[in-house]
């Protein structure tokens, strides 16, 4: 396994276990690598669109899709853990990545009313709801945090 893949898997393993986005030093310690090497791997993973760094930084992870490094309106509860997703797609993505039943809470941005979704045995239970994609695919990575 190459170094970047090891870094990526280490990030995801830590998020899955703790629900929190790991710091650069956590990854370096976990892999027994230098912080400089891990920082360079972060940049390469960003260029492959597998990681999003906090704007203006080279070492703080904002997104390891589908997981968010900050609290958002999309909460995904799996067993006794609560994860935050970057968007509607990623909320479902956390359930598929972890392959578990999930209870998802979000909010309708128009009326502010809560929305709840249940993922059971590999699929969402029926729910009255639609998802709006505001940004065309060709522009998703122009501003992935807004997207």
């Amino acid at each position: 396994m190459d170094f970047d893949t090891s870094v990526k898997l280490n990030i995801y393993e830590m998020i899955a276990r703790t629900t929190r986005m790991p710091a650069l030093i956590d990854i370096a310690l976990g892999l027994g690598s230098s912080m400089a090497d891990v920082e360079q791997a972060f940049q390469r993973l960003y260029e492959k669109r597998l990681l999003v760094l906090e704007p203006g930084t080279t070492s703080r992870i904002r997104m390891a899709p589908p997981f968010s490094g900050i609290e958002t309106q999309h909460r995904v509860k799996i067993e006794d853990k609560v994860y935050f997703a970057n968007c509607a797609w990623d909320a479902f993505g956390i359930a598929t990545a972890l392959k578990r039943d999930a209870d998802i809470e979000s909010t309708c941005p128009d009326c502010g009313e809560p929305l709840a979704f249940q993922i059971r045995e590999g699929k969402p239970l029926p729910q009255e709801c639609v998802v709006h994609f505001a940004v065309p695919a060709a522009r998703w990575w122009k501003d992935i945090i807004y997207t």
Binding site: E13, D110, F133
Partner: protein
């Protein structure tokens, strides 16, 4: 990519916020996207689909046209 209670709520939100209304996606379509994109994200083999793969994935669940084409230049001047 946001959940809305209904299409009427999308219309109202777009009007209030000056956002152009774009395609709506059903929960079933969203689930298929999530499975395809993230189903193996925690594995060694995981990688993000390339542009042509993305078009194929979208098309297979009924999402077609330039909005779903990551190589489309139709949106170059939009914000």
């Amino acid at each position: 990519m946001l959940f809305f209670r209904s299409e009427e709520h999308v219309d109202q939100w777009c009007k209030v916020n000056g956002v152009t209304k774009r395609p709506l996606v059903s929960l079933d379509q969203l689930w298929q996207l999530a499975v395809t994109w993230y189903g193996n994200r925690l594995t060694v083999e995981s990688r993000r689909p390339g542009p042509d793969e993305m078009v194929k994935i979208f098309s297979e669940i009924g999402l077609e046209g330039p909005f779903w084409d990551p190589k489309s230049d139709q949106w170059a001047s939009t914000s």
